[in-house]
């Protein structure tokens, strides 16, 4: 019976070839697996040979060992910013300040005597492309570190790439926190360096009730969760919480709700063009900065002109850097930036954080005495830089940096001036572990 059954099934296979194909497939799988194992073994044996590993595995590609070549006079670093698509407005400015930092560092002799050579890639405003280009930068360009990314979705897409290839990413934008990877350095603010001190400021000003307005995606939702918990712990009433779809331009109802709620202040986490529509319609119904100030966390110098100075004058912003910050490092940064890119170009928080990230990398490499990822990671904690925003220090544990918080007010000239600053740089706490009221949010 058994042989008979076997014969039938063999005949069956021969007739429609179905499981025959499956068979070939599984054979292929075995072969691929074998190939991967082989190339892994090869990689390990190469790793044993020395620090310098050549890019000689043809089919592999998934090799975990870096191919970074630090033996020559230059070392490659990758810049990964959206130069096309919707995010290009913002990310081009980051690419510009990254380039400024590299050209300054090279002019001053480079990093450990080696000039940095930039490989620029375009993330095209697509998280998937960010992941692909990151892989390319690490595996075929063999860069020592990558700088860039803006949206949280682009960072989330790149994170597994940097972890599996054991390479380094410097991410320069404020974000919603709740993340910490040994392979990423976060040089923008996390929530306890931007949102919480902004609330501290409002509380100090006697604000008893707030209204939350945001775009409908991860950052505003997470930020508002934190704000709600803070408000509950500090006796501030949240009078409303409204979300508009990304890119929304119709705010008449939301503005009506804000107006009738009559809160002491509005906390705004809207993104992009929605800000323009929101502020125009806010002003149209007769609301003013004096009567009900709006605190924004995503309007920097770059965006002020687009929203309109007359719509924003007197409103508040929460960042860690403004072009008007008064210290020698910033004077030098602003002057160099304008000399390179034009007098009409403002400098903003993410640009400054990007600029700072390159100098911090230089500091880490020089402290480690090596470009090797593990050594840089080990040396990172405590590295400082006199940045344009003030002195910053890398936290070796969570890879964020200690930054000073600055509450700003939009002036008649479109620039933002500091109205309040935290007394000292705030230690980063991405999971809000040091805030008892935030239990349950940090996860």
């Amino acid at each position: 019976m058994q042989t008979g059954a076997f014969a039938t099934s063999a005949l069956h296979n021969a007739v429609n070839g179905h499981s025959g194909r499956q068979h070939t497939l599984s054979m292929l799988k075995t072969r691929v697996l074998a190939g991967i194992t082989m190339s892994l073994a090869l990689a390990f044996s190469l790793a044993a040979c020395g620090a310098k590993a050549d890019d000689d595995d043809e089919g592999g590609g998934s090799s975990a060992k870096s191919c970074v070549d630090t033996s020559g006079a230059t070392v490659k670093v990758g810049f990964l910013n959206s130069l096309s698509g919707t995010m290009s407005i913002s990310e081009k400015t980051v690419a510009d300040s990254l380039n400024l930092a590299v050209s300054e560092i090279n002019a001053a002799g480079g990093v450990m005597g080696k000039k940095l050579e930039v490989v620029q890639e375009d993330g095209a405003s697509e998280p998937k492309i960010f992941a692909e280009k990151a892989t390319k930068l690490i595996q075929s360009d063999c860069v020592a570190a990558v700088f860039g990314g803006w949206t949280s979705s682009s960072r989330k897409a790149m994170l597994p790439v940097f972890e599996s290839n054991d390479s380094l990413l410097f991410y320069p934008v404020q974000y919603e926190g709740l993340e910490s990877s040994p392979n990423i350095f976060y040089t923008g603010a996390t929530t306890n360096q931007q949102i919480i001190p902004a609330l501290d400021y409002l509380k100090g000003e006697g604000v008893k009730s707030i209204f939350l307005v945001g775009s409908d995606y991860v950052f505003p939702r997470t930020a508002n969760k934190i704000i709600n918990a803070y408000a509950k712990a500090n006796g501030i009433e949240v009078k409303g919480e409204e979300y508009a779809p990304l890119g929304a331009t119709e705010f008449s109802t939301i503005v009506n709700k804000v107006k009738s709620a009559d809160a002491d202040a509005v906390f705004n986490t809207l993104n992009g063009d929605s800000n323009v529509a929101f502020f125009k319609q806010y002003k149209n119904v007769g609301l003013t900065a004096a009567a009900m100030p709006v605190v924004s966390v995503s309007i920097a110098e770059e965006e002020v002109a687009g929203v309109g100075i007359d719509n924003l004058k007197g409103q508040l912003t929460a960042w860690n850097y403004y072009q008007t910050v008064n210290n020698p490092a910033n004077t030098k940064f602003v002057k160099a930036f304008k000399a390179k890119y034009g007098n009409d170009r403002p400098t903003s928080d993410p640009m400054e954080a990007a600029y700072t990230s390159v100098y911090l990398y230089k500091g880490m490499v020089e402290k480690a005495g090596s470009f090797d990822v593990a050594k840089v990671q080990a040396a990172a904690g405590g590295v400082t830089f006199d940045a344009p925003e003030g002195k910053v220090t890398v936290n070796g544990e969570n890879h964020h940096i200690a930054k000073t918080f600055l509450m700003g007010e939009v002036g008649a000239d479109g620039l933002i001036t500091t109205v309040w600053s935290s007394p000292a740089p705030i230690e980063p706490d991405p999971f809000l572990k040091s805030y008892p009221w935030a239990a349950g949010i940090g996860g």
């Binding site: 409908d216 979300y243 890119g247 331009t249 119709e250 109802t253 939301i254 002109a305």
Partner: protein
């Protein structure tokens, strides 16, 4: 009561924006049956016209008023070029028209990006349109009032042209029965062109008006095009009356839903209402009764 009147005003102003963006489309899509995906970019062109005029004339009030006829001419001219160069070759091929005009819309967006830069431009609103005014005890934002008046004026102008002028009679004749219109000597191809010019011109006017509410950027048109099509489809093809009622109806619904839920949910509910409505009445609110066999 206060909330009710406030939301009524909000609903009417949402409706007037919808009306302004959909009115031009109700001519080109409704009358001619051309699915013009680049209609949104004509709106964008109108907004940029307001910006360019304001650079030349610094007084915001004067520049806004001058921009309206110039915006009409710019939008209309772009529509005319598109009609002559591409769409006229693609009548009776709606799918191809859709794809071609979608391509044109992407080209126009990139063109705007190259000409004006990617960041949004700021068109300064005149002083007499900022703040609000009291109408029968209700506070109405002046900018909203201006847009309301602008869209009602545009509707009246279009209706007057369609009802009272020889051109309007020819347009209506062409819509109702193209073959018959041709046999009595109406140059239907040329009539198509006029219709397209007027419809696209109104998009330009809409763009000028929208600078009072939102930002002037390359993607301005994309945020309105879907809403515009929804209004025209719900209102019924080929009827200005339907477009007006659908625009205000949807505006009021949007304001009501948004007040009782959230903006995202309101958008979803609105789409649901339209889908259900079209199940019951696939032809929209009003239709043109024609004797043509098509």
């Amino acid at each position: 009561m206060d909330t009710f009147t406030n939301q009524l005003v909000a609903g009417l102003s949402v409706g007037s924006v919808l009306l302004l963006v959909a009115l031009g489309l109700s001519l080109t899509f409704g009358q001619l049956g051309v699915i013009n995906m680049a209609h949104g970019e004509f709106i964008m062109a109108g907004a940029y016209t307001a910006y360019v005029v304001q650079q030349a004339i610094s007084d915001p009030g004067a520049s806004l008023l001058i921009s309206i006829p110039i915006g009409f001419a710019v939008g209309g001219a772009m529509g005319l070029i598109l009609e002559i160069a591409l769409i006229s070759r693609l009548y009776h091929r709606p799918l191809d028209t859709l794809l071609v005009t979608f391509g044109v819309s992407l080209i126009l967006q990139q063109l705007a990006r190259d000409l004006f830069g990617a960041p949004a431009k700021q068109v300064v609103a005149p002083e007499w349109l900022s703040g609000q005014t009291s109408l029968a005890g209700v506070d109405v934002p002046k900018a909203r009032l201006f847009i309301f008046v602008l869209s009602i004026t545009a509707v009246l102008a279009v209706s007057a042209v369609l009802k009272l002028t020889p051109l309007g009679r020819r347009i209506r004749a062409t819509v109702q029965n193209r073959d018959l219109a041709e046999t009595i000597g109406i140059p239907t191809r040329r009539i198509d062109r006029y219709t397209f010019f007027i419809g696209s011109g109104i998009a330009g006017v809409a763009g000028v008006g929208l600078t009072l509410l939102g930002s002037t950027g390359p993607t301005l048109g994309t945020s309105y095009i879907v809403d515009a099509f929804l209004v025209v489809v719900a209102g019924g093809i080929g009827q200005v009356k339907g477009t007006v009622i659908a625009a205000f109806g949807l505006g009021l619904l949007q304001a009501t839903f948004e007040y009782s839920t959230t903006a995202s949910i309101a958008k979803m509910l609105l789409l649901l209402v339209i889908v259900l409505f079209l199940q019951v009445r696939p032809q929209g609110l009003f239709t043109v009764r024609t004797r043509s066999l098509a």
